[in-house]
């Protein structure tokens, strides 16, 4: 029987059984919900910075409207002005949440009466104060015989032209977020699916199913099929989550994910696959060493360490993406699985680093897969106590 057929059968069983399990479905739903939340929440939060709604009661207050709008524009504040017919209606609107501020002004010289539900933001307060002052000044000048048309331009809130010495790249914030989000997703999914591989292997070993399997299947085929099956299940879950995110993004249109960030997805996917295969083989070998299911966590720890390290270093990368030690670390497997996609997202990667990191990654996958297959084959049928990997390498498998 062909090797690929055996591997396909093993992978297909893995997928079917996982899809049937409650855990997989739960994880899929939770991941999708998290992604949807991540896409829509920033939009909903921005929603709250909607224009401040001010109700102007009385002719004197109403006459402030043009000046308020001009002042707001200069100060980059968004206002929405309405004219309630009287104070009572304005107060009702305030109470009903249809207004944020109610402004009464009996006459230009009088004190402006402001009612709010709880507090008045300092910017709106300063704006109102400035405009009322301007109107008063205007009235005084008019009485003194100075034509308003000469004075008004000088009194209008002056726009300020700002130029920054270090202008922020338009998508820099988005890139930082993408780098951290990508590595977090990578870290979580590698942990989740990598652990699934190790647990699955340990189950087959401790339940002695491995012995029945190995009577017909080569250890390498079993291992590769298992890694492929769990990897595809994970990829499917991620695809569902990404799809849900895209749909949410299209419906809400709030996240405003820049096109250049979407363009990073293929490389994220490539690093996810490579990282998963690398870790999965190592974790499968670790899973084969146990003698009892309870030991899985402890054999996983040494392999999880570089994964955690690779994730934590991403934060250093966001802070100083050009540090030499970071560039070197991001080329080295297994750290490259999380560090390189983050650096790509940050946009500080030289062209030659890509083929180099791919070469190093593929080379280490081949090496780790070979070593892991030997450990796996040796340890899978070993009945006694937990094995060290050196001892497993010495055991002869088929």
């Amino acid at each position: 029987m062909s090797r690929t057929r055996t591997m396909r059968l093993v992978a297909a069983r893995e997928i079917t059984e996982r899809l049937r399990g409650r855990t997989t479905r739960l994880v899929t739903v939770i991941t999708a919900l998290l992604v949807v939340a991540g896409v829509t929440l920033p939009g909903l939060i921005r929603e709250s910075s909607k224009p401040t709604r001010i109700g102007l009661v009385g002719p004197a207050a109403r006459s402030l409207a043009p000046a308020l709008q001009r002042g707001a524009r200069a100060a980059d504040i968004r206002l929405s002005l309405t004219d309630p017919t009287d104070e009572a209606e304005g107060r009702a609107a305030l109470r009903g949440g249809r207004l944020d501020v109610l402004l009464r002004l009996a006459a230009p010289e009088r004190t402006a009466q402001v009612e709010v539900e709880q507090t008045l933001s300092p910017t709106i307060r300063a704006l109102i104060s400035a405009i009322v002052q301007q109107t008063r000044l205007d009235a005084v000048l008019a009485r003194a015989g100075v034509p308003a048309s000469q004075v008004l331009p000088a009194l209008a809130a002056a726009p300020v032209a700002v130029s920054a010495l270090k202008p922020a790249a338009p998508e820099e914030a988005a890139r930082d977020v993408a780098a951290i989000a990508a590595s977090l997703l990578m870290y979580l999914s590698l942990t989740l699916y990598g652990t699934a591989v190790a647990t699955g292997v340990a189950q087959e070993k401790t339940s002695r199913t491995a012995e029945v399997l190995l009577a017909t299947v080569r250890p390498g085929e079993l291992l590769a099929g298992k890694v492929a099956g769990i990897g595809l299940t994970g990829l499917g879950q991620l695809a569902i989550a990404a799809g849900a995110g895209l749909i949410a993004n299209a419906l809400v249109q709030s996240a405003k994910i820049p096109a250049s960030i979407w363009a990073l997805f293929p490389s994220f996917l490539a690093f996810f696959l490579a990282g998963f295969v690398l870790y999965a083989f190592a974790l499968a070998a670790a899973g084969a060493l146990v003698s009892r299911q309870e030991e899985v966590q402890s054999v996983l720890l040494p392999i999880a360490m570089p994964l955690i390290l690779g994730y934590l270093l991403v934060f250093a990368a966001v802070g100083s993406p050009d540090a030499t030690w970071l560039r070197v670390a991001s080329l080295l497997p297994p750290l490259s699985a999380t560090l390189m996609p983050a650096r790509i997202a940050l946009g500080h990667v030289a062209w030659w680093e890509i083929p180099l990191v791919a070469l190093l990654m593929l080379g280490s996958i081949v090496a780790v897969a070979r070593l892991a297959s030997r450990i796996y084959a040796g340890a899978l049928l070993h009945g006694g106590a937990r094995l060290g990997w050196r001892a497993a390498l010495r055991l002869r498998g088929r």
Binding site: M1, L9, R208, T209, E211, V212, A215, T216, R396
Partner: protein, 302 residues
């Protein structure tokens, strides 16, 4: 025909197989007996290719055993192993497919065997939902579903109730009648005696006896019960004969192979009227005990 030639294997200090050879012909049921640690499981694993022995060879139909041949072997390991959460119908079909059956053929075979073993209604159940005995039936279905030419069953009767034992025996006889070669190990010697014509006795990694039960009996000392009126010590001094004991039923003699029983009869007649002269037909248990106690040191795995 399965031929096992001079298998040798060592686990560290432990000599598990010390030159084991045996054959199982087409349509033949061979029982592999021996105490714990005698090397039965190791020998079976070597036959199944799960363990690469230090030396020796396993041949099938006169040729070496490759992957193609192994696809037509069926195996039931001593430590049962199946997926606990998987539905048993799919599980049996899955293993049949790993042995080369196409999807539909595998599904049909799974249905056939589960029904045959009385689990037809439970194909949708997970393995864990089944009783121990029923799980064992599933394991047997896994070994049988791909219609193997050679069946290697390690303690297939362990933990089965009498009814299940009967149905398994019937399946094995049927497989044998269909020309399949069957090698199985068991502690339940009366079962082996009932099902097999031929047994192989392992001890400390060596074959200490092999053959039909009749052959084994011939090769081992027989037990003879003789009652002679008025005399009990007539037998002492006879060549090749040892007095094992005596009571009102007469004396019990151990007679070495090749000793002429007529000479013993003549000696008895000379001593008095012979009231009883009978060979006690030894069952496998007796034979086994005698073989094991005959000079073989206890195996290293005890």
């Amino acid at each position: 025909m399965l031929e096992v030639l001079d298998l040798r294997h060592r686990f560290g200090e432990l000599l598990a197989l010390d030159g084991v050879s045996l054959t199982v012909g087409d349509g033949e049921l061979v029982g592999l007996v021996g105490r714990n640690g005698a090397g039965k499981t190791t020998a079976m694993r070597a036959i199944m290719g799960i363990l690469a022995p230090d030396a020796g060879e396993v041949r099938w139909q006169g040729g070496p055993v490759g992957e193609g041949e192994r696809l037509r072997f069926g195996y039931m390991p001593e430590e049962r192993g199946l997926y606990a959460q998987m539905r048993i119908g799919e599980q049996v079909a899955y293993f049949a497919r790993l042995h080369g059956l196409e999807r539909q053929a595998a599904a049909r075979a799974a249905e056939h065997w589960l029904t045959r073993l009385g689990l037809g209604a439970r194909a949708q159940d997970q393995l864990v939902a089944l009783s121990h005995g029923n799980q064992q039936r599933v394991q047997l279905a896994v070994a049988l579903a791909h219609d193997p030419l050679l069946l290697v069953l390690d303690e297939p009767f362990g933990g089965l109730d009498p009814e299940a034992v009967d149905s398994l025996s019937e399946v094995l006889r049927e497989q044998g009648a269909g020309g399949r070669s069957i090698l199985f190990s068991s502690h339940q010697l009366e079962l082996v005696e009932r099902i097999c014509r031929r047994v192989v006795v392992l001890d400390a990694g060596r074959v200490i006896a092999a053959g039909t039960l009749a052959e084994l009996r011939e090769r081992l000392p027989a037990q003879l019960r003789v009652r002679v009126g008025g005399s009990t010590d007539w037998a002492s001094g006879l060549a090749g004969v040892k007095v094992l004991g005596g009571d009102e039923e007469g004396v019990l003699l151990r007679v070495d192979p090749g000793v002429d029983s007529q000479a013993i009869l003549r000696a008895a007649q000379a001593a008095g009227p012979v009231e009883r002269f009978a060979f006690e037909s030894a069952g496998l248990i007796d034979l086994y005990r005698r073989m094991i106690s005959r000079g073989t040191a206890p195996g290293p795995r005890g």
